[in-house]
């Protein structure tokens, strides 16, 4: 029971402070699951990779994954319910005051300050993920992973290829080259 409650509370907190969408929520998820000892960096990287190739919002995928891995079906439910609840409640309240909301100086101020922080959050997510995605524990850099990383930067950043296409190509490349 305590496990379900703590999963719920952990993801409730992630849902409440997770501004800026899925990627920006990853550092919150990573820090929490490490702090509570649910998962390490390697499994966090697996979770991000699986979220990338399955449909749906990343934070919901992450909540279901962590909840199911640690406490089965009820765990998945508790975590997912937790991550969704703050958004659900806040949106219903705020949508009644949308005109007021658009003019509010405090909301504008929060927006002005939090948006740049989300850039820092997403960059941090890359660092957390990179430790597990590009390194082999105790053996330095994984050359194939580093090559795939570089090519993806080129394809997505320079040639503006769709993330889904790139992910499929790189998954296939990994299956062939790493096996």
């Amino acid at each position: 029971m305590i496990l379900y409650v703590s999963l719920f509370l952990m993801f409730f907190q992630i849902g409440l402070f997770g501004f800026g969408g899925g990627y920006a929520m990853l550092p919150l998820i990573f820090q929490n699951i490490q702090q509570f000892g649910y998962m390490g960096a390697q499994e966090f990287a697996d979770l991000v990779a699986i979220s990338q190739v399955t449909p749906g919002p990343i934070a919901v995928n992450a909540a279901t994954y962590v909840g199911f891995k640690t406490a089965g079906y009820l765990g998945a439910f508790s975590a997912t319910f937790g991550v969704v609840l703050p958004a659900f409640t806040l949106m219903i309240i705020v949508s009644r005051f949308i005109e007021h909301f658009k003019e509010s100086a405090i909301i504008k101020g929060i927006f002005i300050g939090v948006r740049p922080v989300t850039v820092g959050l997403i960059a941090s997510a890359a660092v957390f993920l990179g430790q597990a995605a590009l390194m082999v524990p105790g053996a330095g850099i994984n050359i194939i992973a580093a090559g795939i990383f570089g090519l993806t930067i080129l394809f997505a950043g320079k040639f503006k290829m769709s993330p889904i296409t790139i992910t499929i190509i790189m998954g296939a490349a990994g299956a062939i080259l790493c096996s």
Partner: protein, 182 residues
């Protein structure tokens, strides 16, 4: 009841067919809600997206809740949100069960290695393009760099960076507002 099921079905389909997170869902939601069903006007949809992105939480859930609530109150919000969440929930459980059943497999491990490295790079690119869009001026740059250093290097809880950003943004807004009125 029919309309609640309709809300559920539409958001279930959106949840099922968008790979790549909440932002990728917005064009699909817009098409379903504005073009096909005429639940919201173009302007209302723009407001809805702006609101969904400035509130905390999963953007797709924010959007589903807002539209469901606008259409059919709290129950509408509930069915739309359930619809958008359920596909992820089921699919992730199936994937975890599948991966556990096959156990160690070098092709799947290899594919995961590839996808992990690609995801990391996609996040770098996302951070760069968002930064190019948002970081105009000294204030946003300082906030972005400071929060990156705090979280990624000093492992300070990300929540503090978000709270600090919100507080500093309010102060900045207040000071700027006072400067403009004088």
């Amino acid at each position: 009841m029919k309309q609640l099921i309709h809300l559920f079905t539409i958001f279930f389909k959106i949840g099922l067919f968008t790979i790549g997170g909440g932002l990728a869902m917005i064009p699909l939601i817009k098409r379903a809600v504005v073009d096909d069903n005429k639940w919201l006007t173009e302007d209302e949809m723009t407001d809805c997206i702006a609101l969904a992105q400035s509130m905390p939480g999963v953007i797709a859930v924010n959007t589903a809740t807002y539209i469901g609530n606008k259409k059919r109150g709290v129950w509408g919000a509930f069915f739309a949100t359930l619809g958008v969440v359920l596909p992820s929930f089921i699919i992730i459980i199936l994937v975890v069960l599948f991966l556990d059943t096959i156990g160690e497999n070098r092709y799947i491990d290899g594919a995961l290695t590839g996808v992990k490295a690609a995801s990391c790079a996609l996040i770098v690119v996302a951070s760069y393009s968002l930064g190019k869009q948002i970081l105009k001026g000294v204030f946003p740059w300082v906030l972005a760099v400071a929060s990156f250093v705090a979280i990624a290097i000093f492992d300070i809880t990300a929540v503090w960076a978000i709270i600090a950003g919100a507080v500093l943004g309010c102060i900045y807004q207040a000071v700027k507002g006072r400067g403009e009125t004088q």
